[in-house]
């Protein structure tokens, strides 16, 4: 027998109740969710290496959260659902950027081609710049695991759901990622 919403026991995650209210069209609940998660989502994209469209991508994530509110299952945590959407936004963005690269290249109509070191690296403090560079050297899949596990502090079971991979794979990716980061940071 299918349960209707009123019969579904809301899990310990307090935000699940908010999400159910959003499903029912409660604007205040949606506003509360945006307040609660805006900084986390914004910094998710920042640490994934986005420079210019951070707020745009964060907004797209909340837009999807609203658009797909009917798909939310109260047994899952809202953060799992939200970062699943953020990851999808990020994947779509990466695809778009690859397509745009051709256009980007053609804007060098007035330019020669030599590359000089960016001044931005000199601006950031040494430690922060080292960590940023180290993270940037990780393969995309590993960086996501570090982002969700280290920075968002999500349990591995939740990361597994978000990335749609077994929990054991999360564990091995995390181990490999941390080992690589150690090596890179020792070298810096």
């Amino acid at each position: 027998m299918a349960l209707d919403d009123t019969e579904i026991p809301v899990p310990a995650d307090p935000d699940a109740g908010l999400m159910l209210r959003v499903r029912d069209g409660d604007e205040a609940a949606f506003s509360e969710l945006v307040t609660a998660y805006q900084k986390k989502v914004l910094n998710f994209f920042l640490r994934m290496g986005v420079q210019y469209d951070v707020e745009d991508l964060a907004q797209q994530t909340f837009l999807r959260l609203y658009r797909y509110r009917d798909r939310y299952q109260p047994r899952a945590k809202v953060s799992t659902f939200l970062f699943l959407l953020a990851r999808q936004v990020w994947i779509d963005e990466l695809r778009k950027r690859t397509r745009r690269k051709k256009l980007a290249d053609s804007l060098a109509l007035e330019t020669a081609g030599d590359v000089v070191p960016s001044a931005a690296d000199e601006v950031a403090s040494r430690d922060v710049a080292d960590v940023q560079k180290a993270l940037a050297q990780l393969p995309e899949a590993m960086r996501l695991v570090v982002e969700l596990g280290v920075y968002q502090e999500l349990p591995y079971s939740e990361i597994a759901e978000i990335l749609e991979i077994p929990e054991g794979t999360v564990k091995s990716r995390m181990f490999n990622a941390l080992s690589q980061l150690r090596t890179i940071l020792k070298r810096e």
Binding site: D26, Y52, L107, S157, L178
Partner: protein, 356 residues
């Protein structure tokens, strides 16, 4: 299991705990003050928001229709001179994002500043948008006075165009004075030893970029920002050398084909410089003579070239020739612009708007 449990299981828990501590030194960024409001607004506009308020649903429905209209505009031939279109394309954070319109996101500071300039020129009621853009540009400025831009080419372009646009825009320049001041320092610091500027680290120099940098310094000076005339004079002297044996037709770099656009940009720098050097105005005259004799490319729209030519000819007092180009542009508004592929609709719209 969490990362903490995982570390405890490892053979070197202390080492990994230190690593975690180091990784977490990365500072977190706060959303901009308007992020929350803009997010709700965007969701309401994009979706038929079925919140429990009938009037809100109706308003959201109207907003969806309006945003659909905006999408149609942005996905076809962008409205070449449509300032209203430009206003609707401003992002929640106050910038204009070229990558939404077929351009490159690295040029966001320059396109934001140029949009400000175009808005200021055409729509006196857009001061709220300009104020938002100024705040956003302040955030896009890096500590060295430049603007974010990814690769060095984009950073150089952003520095020149953004400084020029901000210093030229009457509504913006008071609020933007600290931004312009830092940008001027960055321009001076990035000048090559021979007096030119280039997108690359080679000391060869690029005439178009040097013209823009000189123009940006001149505009900054005129807006009341403290500048040094040395950088301007060095730049102008280098430009004079580049035009010495050209009979008034200048090219981007030595030994390359002359370009009307570059000729016009150089002429603008020379005319704006007054009597900086004895021969500079006669050089400018020769260039604008050449420009006024050249016919427009038949049927081909080039907003950047036309913008440069119109400004140069107007500064030289050749208003009839400038008007002729402007009229030709108007007749070609339905033809895709040459720059659309490289710069996107935002780029072509702002430059076209600056011509009108």
């Amino acid at each position: 299991m969490t990362i903490q449990d995982h570390i405890k299981e490892s053979q070197e828990p202390g080492e990994y705990a230190e690593l975690l501590k180091q990784l977490r030194t990365l500072p977190e960024q706060e959303p901009s003050p308007g992020f929350h409001v803009h997010t709700l607004k965007r969701v309401k506009t994009a979706e038929r928001f079925s919140f429990r308020r009938p009037w809100l649903s109706l308003a959201a429905g109207l907003a969806v229709l309006l945003s659909a209209g905006a999408f149609i505009l942005s996905s076809h031939t962008a409205p070449s001179t449509d300032i209203q279109w430009l206003l609707t394309q401003q992002e929640a954070d106050g910038t204009w994002n070229p990558s939404r319109h077929g351009g490159n996101e690295q040029f966001r500071p320059a396109l934001t500043a140029l949009s400000v300039l175009a808005l200021n020129r055409s729509s006196p009621r857009s001061s709220k948008s300009i104020h938002k853009a100024m705040t956003a540009l302040g955030r896009l400025q890096t500590e060295d006075g430049g603007f974010v831009g990814g690769d060095p080419q984009a950073r150089a372009y952003n520095l020149a165009m953004t400084t020029f646009a901000l210093a030229t825009c009457p509504t913006a320049r008071l609020q933007a004075k600290p931004i312009i001041q830092r940008a001027v320092e960055a321009i001076t610091a990035s000048q090559l030893a021979n007096g030119s500027w280039d997108y690359a680290s080679t000391p060869e120099g690029n005439v178009a970029l040097t013209s823009w940098m000189v123009r940006a310094l001149k505009s900054a000076e005129a807006s009341g920002v403290e500048t040094t005339t040395v950088a301007q004079r060095k730049g102008l002297r280098w430009l004079m050398r580049m035009t010495a044996h050209t009979d008034g037709n200048v090219s981007y770099k030595p030994a390359t084909a002359p370009s009307e656009t570059v000729t016009a940009l150089t002429a603008i720098s020379f005319i704006s410089a007054g009597q900086a050097f004895p021969d500079i105005q006669s050089c400018a005259k020769q260039m604008t003579e050449q420009l006024s004799q050249q016919n427009q490319s038949e049927g081909q729209r080039d907003c950047y070239r036309d913008y440069a030519k119109i400004v140069a000819l107007e500064l030289a007092g050749k208003r009839d020739q400038a008007l002729r180009i402007r009229n030709e542009m108007k007749n070609l508004l339905n033809v895709p612009d040459t720059w659309r592929v490289a710069g996107g609709d935002l780029y072509t719209t702002t430059f076209t708007a600056l011509c009108m």
